[in-house]
C-alpha cells in the first residue's frame, strides 16, 4: 500500500513538474518577468500597462487583501501553467501532491480543494471531502437559484422538492482570448440575459468585471465586495491573454478597425489547409467571427449540442441513426430532474400545464425558466453560448462538462449530433442552417474522409 502511495505521489509530482515546466523554461530564457511579458506582450494591447500588471498580481493573489476570501486565487483554477484553464490531470496531480505533503504536514493545504467544490458540500458543509467531480472531471460547483417556474424533483419521492437552488458542475474555461469573445451585439437570441452573447458558458455575464466578481464571490468566497478598480484591473489583465501571437494580432486588428482582418492561423500544410476548409464549412456557422464564437445568422445564438447527461439514445429504429458516447457514471451522477410549469395558456398536447425534463445542466434555462415552449431548438433547455475554439489544441478536455477527452471525441460527438438533427427533423421542415447551406441537403457536416484533415487543422488552433 505504501509502495502504491509513493508511486502515486511520484507520478503526481512528475505531472506537476510537467505542468510547470513551461514556466520554468520561460524563466530560464530570461531574468525577471520573462514569463509575465511572454504572456501579456510588451504593448499591453491597448490596456493600461499598470492595470495589466496589477491585474496579474490580483489574478495570482491568494491573499485578496481585505476581501476575506478562502485562500484561492483566480490562478488556482485558471492555471497559468495549463493555459489558464483547469484539466483533470492537473487537479489530480495537485491532489496527489497534497496527499504526499500531508505525510509530513498534516495541515498541508492546496486551496483548490475547498469544501465548496466537494461533491458532499451540501451534506457535510465545511468538513466535506469528496472531491470526485473536481478530481475526475475538473468540474466546479455553480449554484443557481431556480426560476420560479422550475422545481427539482426529489428522487426519493418523485415529487417536487422544496429546494430553491440547484448545483450544476461546469468546467473552468480558459481566459485566453476573452478579448475576442463576450457580447458582440449581433445575431441576438430571443431573450436575455445577454441576448447577443456574454461571458461564461451560458453567457450570463455581460462584462469581464461581472464575471470576475462572481468568481471571487462564489469560488474564492470573498466576504467583502472588491473595489471596482480591482475588477477593472483583472479585466485588463485577461484582455491581453491570447492563445497565440496570431490571435493576439487578430485581436489588435479588430480593436484598430483594420480590414480585412489578418488570418490568426499559423502556417498550415496542405492537410491542415484542407481541414480549414472543412472547418469553415462544418463548424464556422456557429464558431464564426474573429473569436470563432459567434454564430452566423441564420444559425441561432444559443445551442444545445447534447453534451449534457443523459445523452440522447435513438430507440426508434434499428440500427440507431445516431450514437452518442454514453455519459460515464462520474458525470451521470450530476443529473437532476426538473418540473417546469409552462406559461399561462400553454399546455402539452395532453393538456398538462407542467412538464418534466432531466439534465445534468439545463444551461440557460436556469437563467430564464423558458422551457417547453415551441420547438426544442427555440427554448432555453440545455442551451449554452458558443465558446471560442481558438487555442483549442491546448485546452483538452472539451465541452461544458469536460466530457470529451480529445479532439477526436469532439468530432465523433458532432458527427452523432449532426445525424441526430437530421433524424429528428419534423417531416416537411427545412434542415437547419447549422448543417445545411440550402435547407435541403445536409452538406455541412464533415464526411468520414474529411475527419483527418479537420483534426489536423484543429490541432493547429
Amino acid at each position: 500500500m505504501t509502495v502504491l502511495k509513493v508511486s502515486l505521489s511520484i507520478g503526481a509530482m512528475l505531472i506537476v513538474t510537467a505542468g510547470l515546466s513551461s514556466i520554468a523554461a520561460a524563466q530560464e530564457q530570461g531574468s525577471g518577468e520573462y514569463m509575465f511579458k511572454s504572456i501579456v506582450g510588451d504593448e499591453c494591447e491597448g490596456q493600461r500597462c499598470i492595470a495589466v500588471a496589477r491585474g496579474l498580481f490580483g489574478f495570482l493573489d491568494r491573499r485578496l487583501h481585505g476581501l476575506e476570501g478562502n485562500g484561492r486565487a483566480c490562478a488556482d483554477c485558471h492555471m497559468p501553467s495549463d493555459n489558464f484553464q483547469l484539466s483533470p490531470a492537473n487537479v489530480e496531480a495537485r491532489f496527489q501532491n497534497l496527499q504526499m505533503r500531508r505525510l509530513g504536514n498534516k495541515r498541508a493545504d492546496d486551496p483548490l480543494f475547498r469544501p465548496v467544490d466537494a461533491n458532499d458540500y451540501r451534506i457535510h458543509g465545511d468538513s466535506a471531502s469528496d472531491f470526485s467531480n473536481l478530481r475526475e472531471n475538473a468540474l466546479v460547483r455553480i449554484t443557481f437559484p431556480l426560476p420560479s417556474n422550475m422545481h427539482l424533483i426529489d428522487p426519493a419521492t418523485n415529487l417536487p422538492s422544496s429546494e430553491t437552488s440547484v448545483d450544476v458542475w461546469r468546467m473552468v474555461p480558459t481566459v485566453n482570448n476573452v478579448k475576442l469573445t463576450g457580447p458582440d451585439g449581433i445575431n441576438p437570441w430571443s431573450r436575455g440575459p445577454n441576448a447577443s452573447g456574454g461571458y461564461q458558458l451560458d453567457g450570463r455575464f455581460a462584462t469581464l468585471q461581472q464575471q470576475a466578481l462572481a468568481a471571487l464571490t462564489v469560488h474564492a468566497e470573498i466576504q467583502v465586495a472588491p473595489r471596482q478598480s480591482m475588477l477593472d484591473d483583472l479585466s485588463a489583465f485577461q484582455s491581453v491573454l491570447f492563445s497565440s501571437p496570431g490571435v493576439r494580432a487578430l485581436s489588435n486588428a479588430v480593436s484598430a478597425g483594420v480590414t480585412p482582418l489578418p488570418d490568426a492561423d499559423p502556417p498550415l500544410n496542405s492537410l491542415e489547409q484542407a481541414g480549414k476548409v472543412v472547418f469553415t464549412r462544418a463548424c464556422g456557422q456557429c464558431h464564426g467571427g474573429p473569436g470563432q464564437s459567434t454564430p452566423q445568422a441564420p444559425a441561432v445564438r444559443y445551442h444545445e449540442i447534447s453534451t449534457q447527461c443523459p445523452r440522447p439514445v435513438d430507440t426508434a429504429v434499428t440500427p440507431p441513426r445516431y450514437v452518442f458516447k454514453p455519459c460515464p457514471a462520474s458525470l451521470a451522477r450530476n443529473v437532476r430532474t426538473y418540473e417546469i410549469t409552462l406559461p399561462a395558456g400553454i399546455t402539452t398536447v395532453d393538456g398538462q400545464t407542467t412538464i418534466r425534463r432531466t439534465s445534468s445542466d439545463p444551461g440557460r434555462a436556469l437563467l430564464t425558466g423558458f422551457v417547453g415552449v415551441g420547438l426544442p431548438a427555440s427554448d432555453d433547455w440545455n442551451k449554452f453560448d458558443v465558446p471560442s475554439v481558438r487555442g483549442i489544441s491546448k485546452t483538452a478536455p472539451y465541452f461544458h462538462n469536460n466530457s470529451a477527452a480529445t479532439l477526436e471525441e469532439v468530432v465523433d460527438h458532432y458527427t452523432a449530433f449532426f445525424k441526430r438533427v437530421q433524424a429528428n427533423l419534423p417531416a416537411g421542415n427545412k434542415l437547419p442552417p447549422a448543417i445545411s447551406t440550402d435547407g435541403v441537403h445536409a452538406d455541412r457536416p464533415p464526411v468520414p474522409e474529411e475527419v483527418p484533415a479537420l483534426l489536423a487543422y484543429l490541432r493547429k488552433l
Partner: protein, 317 residues
C-alpha cells in the same frame, strides 16, 4: 452574492461594535484626550457600494491635533517595507501611551500580517507557500519576503514590554484605539470601512486637520470604488491630487495605493517613480483631469481654514 449579503449584516454589526469601542476605549488604555462633541449621522452603502449617508444623532469625535515632537510613524511604517514586526516593536510603546498615528499603523501592520499568517499558516515552507506565484518572480520574491517577515509574529511578541492584556494586542484593538484617539487617518478609515456609522461631518472633520494621508486615503478610496465612467471620480481625484501636492506619500511605497507593481521589477507600465498622480493622469479623460486639478486647488485653498464646514461641498456624497 449570498456571502456579500451576509457580510452586509456582519458589517452593520461590526459597525455598531466599532462605534461602541469608539465611545468606550479599552479598560487598560490611557484616558482619552477629549470627549466627542458633535453629531454623527448613520451611513450605509448603496447597491453600488457607494457611500450613502443617513442623518443621525451620534456625536462626532474631534480629531486629535498633530502633536509636536512626535515621531513620524507614517514614515517609519513605510521605511520598514514588509518588516512589520520591526515597526510594531518600535511603535508599541508609543501606541500604548496614546499616540494615534502609532496606534493606527500598528493596527495596519498587524492586520496585514494576521492576513498573511492566516493564509500561509499551513504552509510547509516559504518556498512552498509562495510557489503559486512562480509565473511572476518579482511578485514571488515580494511575497516570500512578506511571508518571512510576518512569520516573526509567530515566534516573537512585539508587545512583551506592555502590560499583559486579556486577548493580547490584536489589530482590532489598535484600530479601535486609533479611532478613540481621533487620529484623522483612522477616522477616515473607520468611516470608509463601517457603512452607516459616520457622517460627512466626521469625514470633513478628519480631513480638516490637514492630514495628507487622511486626504489621500479618502480620495483614493472613493476613486477606486467607482466605475471609470462615473462622474464621482473627478471629485475623488481632486482629493488625491490635493493630498499628493500637500505632501502625502503618493508613490509605490505607500501600501494603501495599488502601486506595488511599480519598482517591483516588472517594468511594465510604471517604475518606482510612478505616483498616484500619474495613475490619475493615465486613467481620467483630459477634461476630467483638468476639472479635478481645479477642484484640487480649491480644496487646498479651503484646507488652510481647517474648517470642516468649508470642506463639505467637496465630499462626493
Amino acid at each position: 452574492m449570498r456571502n456579500l449579503g451576509r457580510w452586509s449584516l456582519a458589517v452593520a454589526a461590526l459597525g455598531i461594535a466599532g462605534w461602541v469601542s469608539v465611545r468606550t476605549p479599552p479598560a487598560d488604555a490611557p484616558a482619552a484626550i477629549s470627549k466627542p462633541s458633535a453629531a454623527v449621522d448613520r451611513r450605509t452603502f448603496n447597491a453600488g457600494g457607494r457611500i450613502h449617508l443617513v442623518q443621525g444623532t451620534h456625536p462626532v469625535p474631534v480629531p486629535a491635533k498633530e502633536q509636536a515632537n512626535k515621531r513620524d510613524w507614517v514614515a517609519q511604517f513605510r521605511a520598514v517595507g514588509s518588516n512589520y514586526f520591526e515597526f510594531v516593536t518600535l511603535a508599541a510603546r508609543a501606541a500604548y501611551e496614546g499616540d494615534g498615528a502609532a496606534q493606527y499603523y500598528v493596527g495596519r501592520a498587524l492586520t496585514r500580517c494576521e492576513e498573511t499568517n492566516t493564509l500561509y499558516q499551513d504552509a510547509d515552507s516559504a518556498d512552498q507557500a509562495v510557489a503559486h506565484l512562480a509565473v511572476s518572480p518579482a511578485l514571488l520574491e515580494l511575497e516570500r519576503r512578506e511571508y518571512s517577515n510576518c512569520s516573526k509574529f509567530r515566534s516573537g511578541n512585539p508587545f512583551k514590554n506592555l502590560p499583559e492584556r486579556p486577548g493580547g494586542y490584536p489589530a482590532d484593538y489598535w484600530r479601535s484605539r486609533a479611532v478613540a484617539s481621533r487620529y484623522p487617518v483612522a477616522m477616515v478609515a473607520a468611516a470608509l470601512d463601517s457603512p452607516g456609522q459616520y457622517t460627512p461631518q466626521v469625514i470633513a472633520t478628519a480631513l480638516a486637520t490637514g492630514n495628507t494621508e487622511a486626504m489621500l486615503l479618502f480620495g483614493w478610496s472613493q476613486a477606486t470604488a467607482a466605475k471609470a465612467a462615473d462622474a464621482a471620480p473627478i471629485m475623488a481625484a481632486a482629493w488625491v491630487l490635493a493630498a499628493c501636492r500637500s505632501g502625502a506619500n503618493c508613490g509605490p511605497t505607500n501600501e494603501a495605493l495599488p502601486l506595488a507593481t511599480c519598482g517591483a521589477g516588472i517594468e511594465l507600465g510604471c517604475t518606482e517613480r510612478y505616483t498616484a498622480v500619474d495613475e490619475l493622469t493615465g486613467s481620467l479623460r483630459p477634461q476630467d483631469l483638468d476639472e479635478a486639478n481645479l477642484l484640487a486647488l480649491d480644496i487646498q485653498g479651503s484646507m488652510q481654514y481647517r474648517d470642516p464646514e468649508r470642506l463639505k461641498k467637496y465630499l462626493p456624497f
